[in-house]
């Protein structure tokens, strides 16, 4: 557990707060465990009081007594509004088009928001075997938009060429004649700032930096020739109110606020 000095904001806190703000006005979120949990729970207390988290495990409308440790934790089942089978969850809820925002992570992301979670190296003989898609391919194809939260922003993760495209954005799908439902990745939130794109045909662009970070630094940390918005905003630092809610109400035991 990290002991946080008053006034110091950890990377987890920063990413959670920034991601929570992006959830304003969103209704249904498909979230994994960790930073997405923190972001969503904080959003519920701030910008999106009626947000509903849908978990890959089948839980809708969770009312957890503790911060869940996995997407299938018993604490999200007890007292939930509904628990669905996986065919219903993936078929009706996700593929059916009921998810506004899906949260995804990745080992590698490219300029179009395509993701690799399968291998580093060659698929047949990988240097590192990663866990694979899980439900990521379906979250990307069927959510209206996807947010990616990446702790590390460096050229190996933000790469010009994926070692393997596990989870394609809509541009790759359309090139194959398959029409996905949503816009793909619209926000990438990192320790350096925020990349954004609106939808098909558009690359990720740098739209905001954290205080003290320059556009040049972000471009250096990115493995492709990153486009920069005409006006790059500075992300307002986490407010006292946001930090207090996050630290005292959302994750008082610092399960994910590492």
């Amino acid at each position: 557990m990290t002991i946080t000095a008053p006034g110091t904001v950890t990377s987890s806190e920063l990413l959670s707060v920034v991601a929570s703000r992006e959830l304003a006005s969103r209704r249904t979120v498909f979230a994994g465990i960790g930073l997405p949990t923190l972001a969503t729970e904080l959003a519920r207390l701030t910008v999106a009081p009626r947000i509903e988290v849908v978990y890959e495990s089948g839980v809708c409308g969770a009312h957890p007594s503790h911060l869940p440790e996995t997407i299938a934790d018993a604490v999200i089942v007890s007292g939930a509004e509904a628990v669905l089978s996986m065919p219903a969850l993936f078929g009706c809820v996700l593929q059916g088009g009921h998810i506004d925002v899906g949260f995804l992570g990745a080992a590698q992301i490219d300029r179009w928001g395509n993701l690799n979670t399968s291998v580093i190296g060659d698929w047949e003989n990988p240097t590192v075997r990663l866990p694979g898609s899980g439900g990521a391919i379906e979250v990307m194809a069927n959510s209206r938009e996807v947010f990616v939260v990446m702790r590390r922003h460096n050229p190996r993760s933000f790469t010009g060429t994926l070692d393997f495209c596990t989870t394609p954005g809509p541009d790759r799908a359309l090139a194959e004649g398959i029409r996905p439902l949503g816009a793909g990745v619209t926000r990438v939130i990192t320790e350096l700032g925020i990349l954004a794109r609106v939808g098909v045909g558009e690359e990720l662009r740098l739209v905001a930096v954290h205080p003290g970070v320059t556009a040049h630094q972000v471009r250096e940390a990115t493995g492709w020739d990153l486009r920069v918005a005409d006006t790059v905003e500075t992300v307002p630092p986490p407010s006292e109110a946001e930090l207090r809610l996050l630290r005292e109400d959302v994750d008082p035991d610092r399960v994910y606020l590492r």
């Binding site: 007890s78 007292g79 509004e81 509904a82 078929g91 009921h98």
Partner: protein
């Protein structure tokens, strides 16, 4: 009525009048599901009262409520896999329409039960089609051009290419179902026969759920596996006790088998059918009046006993 918003979101509770006015429009495709159990009859009667026209009704078992809606002039097209009065006889109005276009024709799309189930599965899962091992050799594809074939990209058991029939999705403008209970925000719980209701709701653009009763959030949340449809898929919750009559609601009231038998006679005679609608639908302001008109003695005859489920423990770590 329970219109108060809850801590977790807006109440979706509204009156039947409001729900039908808001979500069932002239010319709409309306799915009405409930397989013998939990037939949303009261909703069908309110559609008749409000004089909806030119509806396409989608319903696996087109039965009494559909015959009534057709007789009231609400329906121009029917999509169904069984057009009969259960095992109790015929639907007089439907037969006059189809056999003699009397007093007007009725367009009819004929399927089998599983064909309809698969249309809802495709609709709810946003699939372009759903495959099923039926229809080979049937005359139905000859009269329903939406029954088509696909060649599997995997070899069949004999190593040769394999063909299979598929059906297209159905995506109604609105689906109406009846359920035992819900919370104010529309988490719907059903037990006993659950049929195709969940998929019919997910396939639709809007969903109206009529319930026997609204319960507190804690009741629903004590048993989340019992929630057949989560609130995110529901647009209106209408409280209408005994709203499934002459169908039944397990644990609430039994099926009115006498009325099913009577309907074959009522519907056989257009005059009698009109008189029945005049008295029981147009002549009642809403379903509460219909229920009162039947009288408490009548309802006592449909009373059910108690057979409570054993509880299960959803407990989590301490």
């Amino acid at each position: 009525m329970e219109r108060t918003d809850t801590a977790d979101g807006p109440s979706k509770v509204m009156s039947m009048k409001e729900a039908v006015a808001a979500f069932v429009h002239d010319g709409a495709t309306v799915s009405i599901e409930g397989f013998t159990h939990l037939v949303p009859t009261a909703a069908g009667h309110e559609i008749i009262r409000q004089g909806r026209k030119d509806l396409t009704v989608v319903r696996m078992t087109a039965d009494i409520v559909v015959d009534q809606m057709i007789a009231a002039g609400c329906v121009s097209r029917l999509v169904s896999s069984f057009v009969g009065n259960s095992s109790a006889g015929s639907l007089g109005e439907l037969r006059r329409r189809i056999e003699r276009a009397d007093p007007a024709p009725l367009a009819f799309e004929e399927y089998s039960h599983y064909g309809m189930v698969c249309r809802y599965l495709a609709g709810s899962q946003r699939l372009p089609f759903y495959p099923l091992r039926s229809y080979g050799g049937s005359d139905l594809p000859g009269v329903n051009s939406d029954l088509r074939k696909v060649t599997s990209p995997y070899p069949g058991p004999d190593g040769e290419p394999e063909q299979i029939y598929v059906v297209p999705p159905v995506n109604p403008d609105v689906t109406i179902i009846h359920a035992q209970r819900a919370d104010r925000r529309g988490n719907i719980q059903i037990w006993g026969l659950t049929g195709i209701q969940a998929e019919a709701v997910y396939a639709a653009d809007k969903a109206v759920v009529v319930v026997e009763e609204i319960v507190e959030d804690e009741v629903v949340r004590s048993d989340p596996n019992r929630t057949l449809v989560p609130s995110h898929a529901v647009d209106a919750v209408v409280v209408c006790p005994r709203g499934a009559h002459p169908s039944f609601a397990q644990g609430y009231y039994d099926r009115d088998n006498d009325f099913y038998r009577a309907w074959s006679h009522i519907s056989k005679d257009p005059e009698r059918l009109r008189a029945w609608l005049a008295e029981w639908v147009y002549g009642t302001a809403d379903h509460a009046e219909y229920v009162d008109k039947l009288g408490e003695d009548f309802w006592a005859g449909l009373a059910v006993g108690e057979a409570l489920s054993e509880p299960v423990n959803y407990g989590r770590r301490l």
